[in-house]
Amino acid sequence: MADLQALREKLGVELAESSFRDNLRVDVAAERIFDVLSYLKSEAGFDMLVDLTAVDYLEYEGATDRFGVVYLLLNVASGERLMVRTAVNLPDPRLPSVYSLWRGSDWMEREVFDMFGIVFEGHPDLRRILMPEEFAAFPLRKDYPLKGRGERHNFPVITRAGS
């Protein structure tokens, strides 16, 4: 098991611990997320970032924050897994990029930015990855309509005579 007590003492950070079945989950404040992840990588051996994704908790029962950002870590040597969660809010959801820790976070952070509009500071190339560049909305936010706002049909029409 990851020594979370040592992490608490060393960084002086508040960690809310919980577990579901055999998943260990840790909630960290957004300001300390980089320190915690950095420690987990260098000291606790979590050398692989399996996934980085986000959840929109709009209208979710009991939720206090708008977005949850989830880091799934894996210690390749021991097989141990850890879920690190943090929360960001509108109007300016921002997090430090973990690109300097795990190169694999490059496209995952771009995807989270593309879908949720969460900005990762320090990311070398934070562009949209799935949607077209000129797309203006963040489609996985819960207040975005499933059928979009007309973006899918905003194209010129080619007629037979004109082509």
Partner: protein, 206 residues
């Protein structure tokens, strides 16, 4: 016949001769983006054998093709590519929209998926199915040949009269309401002007 012709000469119209040649050597451009593409491959393979109808020459360059087969869903990021490929194909050219997604968006009624390619490019033949069986695509190719034979002219005059879009309007009424809502909340970037310039009647390839 009053005029004595040698045995190996027959009289016909240029249009009919061109149609005969064109209809029996349709060169498809496979625009396969999803599972319909697999059925398209099966159609071309030995069991169903598209070659029986002279349409086996799948070219992966639009410059060499005259039959665009849109097989699969087209997302909004892909649509400009599809339109570009259509524009790159030389005349005369035709288009088959294969499968529910290409025809109408199918089950993918989401923000990213175009609800039918016929909203943005001209379509000659629709193949229903999800995905259609190879027999259905073969039937479409045979119908396409029939259409070429019946309507084709050597200079492609039949295309000139098709100067209005034949598909549904790009924006359905409920889509218009969502655009209005979006403009009310002032999202920025995607402006009302950009929307209205994309409505039906806009010509050419912007």
């Amino acid at each position: 016949m009053a005029v004595g012709l040698p045995e190996n000469i027959f009289l016909t119209k240029l249009d009919a001769a061109a149609n005969w040649a064109r209809s029996n050597s349709l060169w498809p451009m496979p625009f396969a983006t999803a599972c319909c593409g697999i059925e398209l491959m099966a159609t071309a393979a030995s069991r169903h054998d598209l070659a029986r109808f002279g349409a086996e020459v799948m070219r992966f360059s639009p410059r060499q093709c005259d039959l665009l087969i849109v097989a699969g869903r087209v997302v909004m990021k892909m649509l400009p590519v599809l339109q570009r490929i259509w524009m790159q194909m030389p005349e005369p050219k035709w288009c088959i929209s294969m499968g529910a997604c290409a025809c109408s968006g199918g089950v993918f009624d989401t923000y990213a998926v175009v609800q039918g390619v016929d909203r943005f490019i001209p379509v000659d033949m629709y193949v229903p199915g999800c995905p259609p069986r190879p027999e259905q695509l073969l039937a479409a190719v045979i119908d396409m040949q029939e259409k070429v034979r019946r309507t084709g002219t050597i200079l492609g005059r039949e295309f000139d009269v098709r100067d209005t879009p034949s598909g549904p309007t790009p924006f359905d009424s409920d889509e218009r309401y969502r655009i209005q809502d979006a403009n009310l909340v002032q999202l920025g970037g995607f402006s009302a002007a950009a929307v209205s310039s994309g409505v039906r009647g806009a010509k050419g390839h912007g």
